[in-house]
């Protein structure tokens, strides 16, 4: 059992054109920077990307958009990205917008072997178009299907050689959910430690869900909205 890769290039080596990818992160927080760089370098194209956001013009998934590697984005919020907007309006890029909780739960459903879930998000709105609605206890819910991806690419804070992952603060977000939903799950971590060094009670993603792991490098961790207390 060897899950360890030397780096992002090896970890993403077999991602083909046209693959369906999940990419963890919320905004620019907790995104798999190393794998995104490697995908940009590899110039794999025709990708469907399931990710809560689409990065900004010069960081995150924005870097892949810049090279027109993405055919379709499935996201909940895609603002703050001029090139994205241009491709969308020109018809080069397909976009499916879904509520954030629905996105999260559809990933979790795949990891839990549940083919579909019920959520009230979007009932009575255009999101409900063409979807099955069902009433439980007097409230309407939409039937939403589990999301699966050929590759799920996530970023964690610490990981071990068995693939166990721990996330830090709000960089957790979609990462543990997508980690469960990949046919192949690739994890990049800030610190890779030998099996046995992480407290088994504190594992967020058990290694069974992780197929490849490597210690990333040169994390920029860009801040999108730097806000500080104003001086009194």
């Amino acid at each position: 059992m060897n899950k360890i890769c030397t780096g992002a290039e090896e970890a993403i080596r077999d991602i083909p054109d046209g693959a369906v990818l999940m990419l963890g992160g919320f905004g620019l927080c907790g995104i798999p920077e190393n794998c995104i760089s490697a995908l940009v370098k590899k110039r794999v194209t025709g990708l469907t990307c399931i990710s809560n956001n689409a990065g900004v013009d010069d960081f995150g998934i924005g870097l892949m958009l810049m090279q027109q590697q993405v055919k379709k984005m499935i996201s909940s919020y895609v603002g703050e990205n001029a090139e994205f907007e241009r491709q969308l309006l020109s018809g080069e890029l397909e976009v499916e917008l879904i509520p954030q909780g629905t996105l999260a739960t559809r990933c979790m459903a795949a990891g839990y072997g549940m083919p579909a879930i019920f959520t009230p998000a979007g009932v009575g709105t255009e999101v409900a178009t063409g979807k099955e609605t069902r009433r439980f206890n007097g409230k309407d819910y939409l039937l939403e299907y589990a999301f699966e991806a050929d590759f799920a690419i996530v970023k964690a804070w610490k990981g071990d050689t068995m693939g166990n992952l721990i996330y830090k603060d709000t960089a957790r977000n979609f990462n543990p959910l997508m980690a469960m939903a990949g046919k192949i799950t690739i994890a990049e971590v800030e610190e890779l430690v030998p099996a046995g060094e992480l407290d088994p009670n504190m594992i967020h993603t058990p290694g069974i869900y992780v197929h490849r792991i490597f210690q990333g490098k040169d994390y920029e961790k860009r801040i999108e909205q730097r806000t500080v207390l104003s001086k009194k």
């Binding site: 509520p99 954030q100 009230p120 801040i223 806000t227 500080v228």
Partner: protein, 219 residues
């Protein structure tokens, strides 16, 4: 005179009760955190995976791994907890959050809300708004009474694509505080110096005015 966004936040803060778990949307709702009354403990939920959001960090102490749903750098209070986005929306969907405050482009007199899309303009996405409005037990909308063109944002029916249906319980604008009832917007309080006639004139949806309407008081 119409109240400003800080006064809107201040007035909404009076709706908070001790022990509330509260989700504050982006914009004016975020300001509510600055006006939590003394002696009242509330826990702020950030739907990207945090209970116990604190104030913005001091300059130099920003942590890129610690942001709120508006992608702003933040801090945590003692007793906070982090979790993934499925659990975050799980607790929202299960009605564990006591109060949700968010902005809107339009609200109907039956409680429909539109706040995510303007057809013909660039669409940015609904983020977590549809999940929040579909599940929150108690939703207060904080917004301007009219749009920049002077048109009412309180309508008989929303003209923009909906975010949620029959979900808003209360609306606070720069002019008035209203409950949403079966009869429409029930006027509860006026901004200081704003007349009922002005509120009536700027409310396109059904407005119910019953008896004397008190003015909001700001200390």
């Amino acid at each position: 005179m119409a109240i400003d966004k800080n006064q809107i936040a201040q007035r909404i803060a009076r709706e908070l009760k001790d022990g509330y778990y509260v989700n504050l949307g982006i914009g004016i709702p975020t300001l509510v955190a600055n006006y939590i009354p003394a002696g009242i403990n509330v826990v702020l939920q950030s739907e990207n995976g945090l209970l116990g959001m604190g104030p913005f960090p001091e300059a130099g102490k920003e942590d890129p791994d610690l942001i709120n749903a508006g992608k702003q750098t933040i801090t945590t209070i003692p007793g906070s907890s982090f979790f993934d986005s499925a659990m975050s929306f799980g607790m929202i969907r299960a009605g564990k959050v006591d109060l949700t405050v968010l902005g809107a482009m339009e609200v109907s007199d039956t409680g429909d809300i539109a706040n995510w899309k303007i057809p013909g303009k660039m669409v940015k996405g609904m983020g977590g708004a549809m999940d929040l409005v579909a599940s929150a037990k108690n939703i207060i909308v904080a917004m301007m009474h009219t749009n920049p063109k002077g048109e009412s944002k309180l309508l008989p029916a929303c003209s923009l694509p909906l975010t949620g249906v029959r979900c808003v319980k209360k609306v606070l604008t720069d002019l008035a505080l209203m409950d949403i009832t079966d009869e429409g917007f029930l006027l509860l309080e006026r901004a200081p110096g704003v007349s009922v006639d002005e509120i009536q004139a700027k409310t396109a949806g059904r407005l119910v005015v019953r008896g004397e309407i008190p003015e909001m008081v700001f200390g």
